[in-house]
């Protein structure tokens, strides 16, 4: 049974467009790839034809990059500290305290003198949050009324991949009897996948409020073979179940977790707390910090560095809720999900697309709340080193395929009337700049920036710039080592202790793995991003590809 879907006047899809809308969509699809290629080709051409101008532009870019790196490093530290501070927080206690908000605010005036610095700071943040909630006068739902729908999409993944994640749900500090678990199975996955899902359902059903196995039939009209279609179908079935059980959508939080996701023990308590204190909780998504710790010590060094880098990027992003976009496993109000018409059923990047869809639907009145808790996933790995490279490459290209959102989001912005212009411009700039810099910066830093000096002609090599530019570049790169050093230290703090071998030696070895950054940043980050943008530019759309996960 399909739940009540409120259709937005703007259709968040590239399918079925005609006339001007098609032309606009196609033009905007070309835009990011054209910009990236123009920058790369233009700078290469300039390096040979106008080396002096190229060298000056590159220095200006290096300086921008350095400041941006420092800026990000600063917020990486802030974000990491925030994550560390809340590590020992008793979220369930805070949830229960919500029932007596006034007394709680007064009682929290001072932290106990015996508390450590982390606990004091956490207490201070908690106090501020309660004051804001108390001042707002918003009604806070009872924790007992809140239900969590956990959708775990399964395409071809075996039971071994998703069962640890399901088992972890039982261990949650939040009562598992308020969790409705849904295994969203693809019909095309085959009978074996379905049988395994049914077995898992039988084993774990008693621990949850409900445990559903929803089989998504293939070939439904308007759908592509994407994860969004599967989870949309599952969510629509859940909507029917919730209606039958008279559970208000407003009190339901839906979490879409990748099959390999293992959430922190505090995940649902932390999520519930932030949902409760959120002033407009049905206009928000909740973004945990994705980490790739499930098999982090079983993968080649380059993959480890790359995925630690991805986690750090999300940590930095978490400090900017105004422009934060959902990524990978995340949660949101079920009410909002139903109102905006669920996930796009024809897009690969459903994790970010759902945010953009909501943002446009609610005319900018939607946001992402970062929550200081982690969800752990697998690093894409395979049988051999070479296959792992291919696997990682294809996974990063799929992430970069998030660029498919850009033309639809831009068109959506043009359709909105009450969306504040500055916020629209801010989001549009971030989306475009993010993708273009992803595809170009590593090339500029690692390759193109060196061309003017390497292929200098007689005229350029006798200019002052020829001698001063490398000197300034070297200084900038030395200063950038501050950022790299901080990143290495934080990665050592964030990574779990290796369970096999010599833990200290492995961690020391990991420090040296960061030397791979220049190669990895180009080969397994910029190239896949450029690949994705070029495909979009040429209209060669990506098919969904399930990342191979090994346990």
């Amino acid at each position: 049974m399909i739940g009540a879907i409120t259709q937005s006047p703007f259709s968040f899809t590239r399918q079925g467009l005609k006339g001007y809308e098609w032309f606009l969509q196609r033009t905007l699809e070309i835009l990011p790839g054209a910009m990236s290629w123009s920058i790369l080709i233009g700078m290469t051409w300039m390096a040979f034809s106008e080396p002096l101008s190229a060298a000056v532009l590159i220095i200006a870019f290096y300086l921008y990059w350095l400041l941006r790196l420092w800026y990000m490093t600063f917020f990486l530290i802030i974000s990491y500290l925030r994550l560390s501070i809340e590590k020992e927080t008793d979220w369930m206690m805070r949830i229960h305290a919500m029932g007596m908000l006034d007394g709680c605010v007064k009682g929290m005036q001072k932290s106990p003198p015996s508390a450590n610095l982390q606990a004091r700071f956490s207490g201070w943040l908690y106090r501020r949050q309660l004051e804001v909630v108390a001042r707002s006068g918003n009604l806070i739902p009872s924790a007992r009324e809140i239900y969590h729908v956990v959708i775990i999409p399964v395409a071809k993944e075996s039971r071994a991949i998703y069962e640890p994640g399901v088992a972890r749900l039982i261990e949650q500090r939040f009562p598992s009897q308020q969790l409705i678990v849904v295994l969203a199975i693809e019909e095309r996955g085959g009978e074996q996948i379905r049988l395994e899902a049914n077995t898992v359902q039988q084993v774990y059903r008693k621990h949850f409020s409900d445990f559903l196995v929803v089989v998504h039939p293939g070939g439904l009209a308007g759908e592509a073979q994407v994860k969004g279609a599967n989870i949309t179908y599952a969510a629509s079935v859940v909507a029917g179940v919730l209606q039958q059980r008279a559970i208000s959508f407003q009190n339901v939080i839906v979490s879409c977790l990748d099959a390999d996701t293992v959430v922190d023990l505090n995940y649902f308590s932390c999520l519930t707390y932030h949902f409760m204190i959120c002033p407009q909780r049905t206009r928000a998504s909740f973004q945990p910090i994705p980490v790739y710790h499930n098999n982090i010590w079983d993968v080649p060094g380059f993959a480890r560095v790359l995925d630690v880098g991805s986690s750090f990027f999300q940590l930095v992003e978490a400090t900017s809720p105004q422009t934060l976009v959902t990524f990978s496993s995340h949660s949101m109000s079920f009410q909002a999900l139903v109102e905006i018409g669920y996930w796009p059923v024809d897009m690969i990047s459903d994790d970010s697309a759902i945010f953009w869809k909501a943002l446009i639907h609610y005319e900018g009145n939607y946001r992402v709340i970062p929550i200081p808790v982690t969800v752990s996933m697998d690093v894409a790995v395979s049988d051999s080193w070479r296959k792992t490279v291919v696997n990682v490459y294809r996974q990063k290209r799929r992430w970069a395929w998030g660029v498919e959102n850009l033309p639809i989001v831009f068109r959506g912005f043009l359709h909105t009337k009450n969306f504040p212009l500055f916020r629209k411009l801010s989001y549009a700039f971030k989306l475009l700049e993010g993708h273009v810099s992803w595809a170009t910066w590593s090339f500029l830093l690692g390759l193109i920036g060196w061309l003017p000096a390497l292929f200098a002609g007689q005229e350029f090599s006798s200019s002052v710039v020829y001698y001063t530019a490398p000197r300034v570049s070297a200084t900038i790169f030395h200063l950038a080592l501050v950022g790299l050093g901080t990143t290495i230290v934080l990665s050592l703090c964030l990574l779990p202790y290796p369970l096999i071998g010599h833990p200290i030696m492995r961690k020391i070895g990991h420090m040296f793995e960061w030397l791979l950054v220049p190669v990895v940043a180009i080969g397994l980050s910029a190239v896949p991003a450029l690949d994705a943008q070029t495909r979009l530019l040429l209209g060669a759309y990506l098919e969904f590809w399930v990342t191979e996960k090994k346990r």
Binding site: W70, Y71, S320, S462, V464, V465, Y466, Y467, T468, V472
Partner: protein
Amino acid sequence: MVWLRKIIFVCFLVAYLILCPLTVLYVLGYVIQPAVSQGIIKTGLIVIRTVPSGASIYLNGKRFAKRSPAILHRLLPGSYQVKITLPGYAPWIRRVNVEPQKATALDHVLFVPKHLQPVSVLEGPYQNLIPIPQTRWLLLAGTKRLANWVVYDWQSRKGYPVISDSSVFGNAEVIEPITMEESPLVLLRVQDEGIERFLAVELSSHGTHSLRDISPLFPKSLEQVIWEGHQTDFLFTFQEHYVNRVDPQLMAIYPRIVEKVSGFGTDAEGLYVLTEDGSLIRLDFEGTRPEAIFEQVFINPAWLNKQAPIHLFVFPRHFFMGRTKGRECFLIHPSIKWHEQGIQDFLYERQQHRLWIWRKRELGILKLPSMDRDTDSEKMPRQRPLNVQWILKDAENLRQVFGVHEGSHVLVLDGDRVFLQEITAESDTAVERYPLIQVLPRSTIVYVESEGLLYYLDPTTKSLTSLTLVPDRSAPSSSSLLSSVSSIE
């Protein structure tokens, strides 16, 4: 967090807006000098690299804090006296002009020791020294008798007799050694018991040399023999306007592989032939698959039909040099017109794409244009003349020239005296001349750029002696980019 982020963002934005223009101005050579009326002025710089490094630098008499290599930044435009000193070496003093936003590169300053320290590397006595360009060997002649000839391997620093004591050719007298660039094969034209013979010596890095008598392969009226350095199975001889191919391994002759030949030469791609009708063709080493390089070469017809062949030298970018027995040299290219008489020899520098050319009393530079055969020559159907820039005109008897330290200097053997001549990079003019040594009369010298070593025969002891000219090979790009085309014929 939101307000913190905004504050930090504004701080970084302001920092960038201030730092970026200042950095760019610095990179471009601008400095802010409030005392000067203009406020912001353009500066230039001087780059100094010396061999050996660590030299003290004085600018207009004031010592610069850093030692070489160094870059002297933010210099106001004008003329500066640069003095560079290093204990034990002659000081290097020049007046240089600094132009706004320009770099004056003094990056090939080579110090010559005040007291030279030659090292005897192989006891003599020897009468002459024969270079084998672009190889690890050189030949030393004790007397005309072959038993007294030695091969010196400058990489292993060892000398070996060319033939063993028991060889039947020990008493043969060497008339002429024939060597080719990059080739381990040496042909010795000898007189053995009244009979003229050709002996082929294949040099080896292990010190063992194979020697074979290949006289039957060569006619009595042999005019010239050439081969490509690495293709020692493909020797080409010239006889009465045709070319024979000779295979010394199989002891086989392939007669008349090309006829109506006026001149010939080789490179790694094959055999080049200048025909009697004035066209230049290329064949493979077997003498087959002819390919026209230039349909019609504009050269003096009188040179084409002489009995002695024109020796062709092949340079990159399809430039060819012809040299007649009468010491007339000319360039072969559709767009270039140049010839000169009385040329002793020449040296091609790959990096600068130029030729050092010398007569008995003059040394000059011929800069080859950087044009392509297939494109530029079509655009410029008319030949344009090239001129040699003569930089030395007071020599007594120029015999050998070598490029030193990436072409910044030339090593010259003038009569029996050797001197080092510094050349300015900007104007290709001779600057300073450093007299070095006297060599054994009528003997030649060898300079190994990769080692920075000069080999010569000491006039007193007649021993093979070495002199270090470029001691610090780790200094700027020490790899040898010079290629000598000189050969002893």
